[in-house]
Subunit: 230 residues, 3 copies
């Protein structure tokens, strides 16, 4: 499953035609995480290590991908499924969705999901989820920063597509440079962050689409993107 | 007081019978922080230094403790008292509780409380509290991540005990490894965080309770924890 | 504009009479950021670099300034204007205000505004704003930590002045040491943060106003600040 997800995410990653990725699921569960049958004693700890390393790779792939990745959630997202939502750049959920890291209930603390969760929500929210295993509602997830937007189930696809279409209407190299720069500056001290991003602004202006956008704005017309990479 | 708190927190820390700690208070104030009589000129700056170092040690003890520490707050928590709430892993408060860092009013900026506060709530919330000294309500504290849950006063003990009992029903070594791993990965970059936690997942699966939990789940029965350490 | 802002912020910075700074605007827009005419191809990339470096300097000046800086926002704050709000220590806004980082619409990703935004709000909120360019309301900005307070337009000046007057009534060297210490400890690990702030508490107690505040409190009278620097 993880390898299929990895290959789907990487599919056409370098094509200028790819502007945005949506990860969604069928049925009442978005994802309940790892298959526990892969984590029994018989599989051995080398295999366990491989499973978690593959999972971590997929999560980091989302962040390092050149286009924004949106999670569209309609239902329960638990353990590595909750990690997947937390790892996406944007997450839209229906109001019936819920989120949990319940591993502790079965003696397997959600430590890898905790990495993504702790970077999305306040520490006390993450710890209560991790220590009690209890779910939070979509509304709570929104309040605490795990989600970008919550809508009624009937509007989930429409709202997600609206955001996706908006992103698809933009210049891919501009969005791509912006995404990479965002995550690069995030862990830096303020001075380094501004040094890196000031340079990124200059590079962005040197892109063909950077100049096209500004010219179009000053000429009060719609920009025509070339999507020409740097 | 700090030394008594320290000794209480350390009491039986290594016993398998200890599963969770609740810190609470009697009377209308949870804690109003340092005794100002200890901070006058006569005490001298070596003594002042000792006071703040002891306080910092207690706060770090909570984080480094093998079991989750819950603050149960019913009333006012100010200065180092607010720091204590922010330092706990989980915090449950009654709706009449409030939280402040008012040191600036008496010429002593709450810099040590600010450490815990800034790691619990957004920066602008922390700075307004620190610069104005004004209290925030339990509801605001919940919204901003200082609290895990707010309940009516009459339900405070029941709700706190419900969370504590839930944690006490889990495997101590699993919870303990999870807590230590959470705080270890928190300041790391994403790659290092996933490296550390992937290893922790493998270690968790190698615990007797890790395998018991998965086996019980696959056999559709309740797990029986041995609480056997690694 | 940036240079004028810089010079205004630096004006009388070292005077004991300066206790707090309010940044506000006239008209329906707080600030819409850079003048795009400065960012065309004709200006050249050396000039572009200078623009963004100057902007970054102004933003860091706010953080490094000895007194708290309050943004008073009544209207739209976009791009570097939104960055300015996020960079202030405290931000009060009228309920009709809104906030956006719409650069991506014109092919110039708001990477420098993203530095301040990502340090004020949860990551998913920042990324949705940056990727879609869509505005958030004052209420959403408050919920997510970009603002300290939202009030009806008619009360904006009164509420901002109330906070400013409160800060102006405090000891300048105490507030100043507190602000500098807060930002210094913020990126550190917990042990280092407590080491730095414990020392700052001792230094604060050695200030004349530190002792005056505590003495006044114990004597149940109002403190009389000397504002004498360390």
């Amino acid at each position: 499953m993880l390898k299929s997800l990895q290959s789907d995410i990487l599919h056409d990653a370098d094509s200028n035609d790819l502007k945005v990725i949506i990860i969604s699921a069928e049925g009442p569960v978005f994802s309940s995480g790892h298959d526990l049958k892969e984590l029994t004693e018989e599989q051995g700890c080398d295999y366990h290590a491989e499973v978690f390393q593959t999972c971590s790779k997929v999560m980091m792939l989302i962040r390092n991908h050149p286009v924004p990745v949106i999670a569209m959630v309609n239902g329960l997202a638990t353990a590595a499924g909750c990690q997947l939502v937390a790892s996406c750049d944007i997450a839209v959920a229906s109001d019936k969705s819920s989120f949990a890291t319940p591993g502790v209930n079965i003696g397997l603390f959600c430590s890898t999901p905790g990495v993504a969760l702790a970077r999305a929500v306040p520490r006390k929210v993450a710890l209560e989820m991790l220590f009690t295993g209890e779910p939070i509602s979509a509304q709570q997830a929104l309040l605490h920063g795990l989600l970008s937007k919550v809508v009624p189930e009937a509007e989930l696809q429409e709202e997600t597509m609206r955001i996706a279409r908006k992103i698809a209407s933009l210049s891919r190299p501009v969005v791509s440079l912006g995404k990479a720069t965002f995550y690069k500056q995030l862990p830096q001290d303020l001075g380094t962050a501004y040094y890196l991003t000031s340079q990124a602004m200059v590079d962005n202006l040197a892109l063909r689409d950077g100049q096209e956008g500004i010219t179009a704005f000053l000429q009060k017309r719609k920009p025509i993107w070339s999507h020409e990479p740097a």
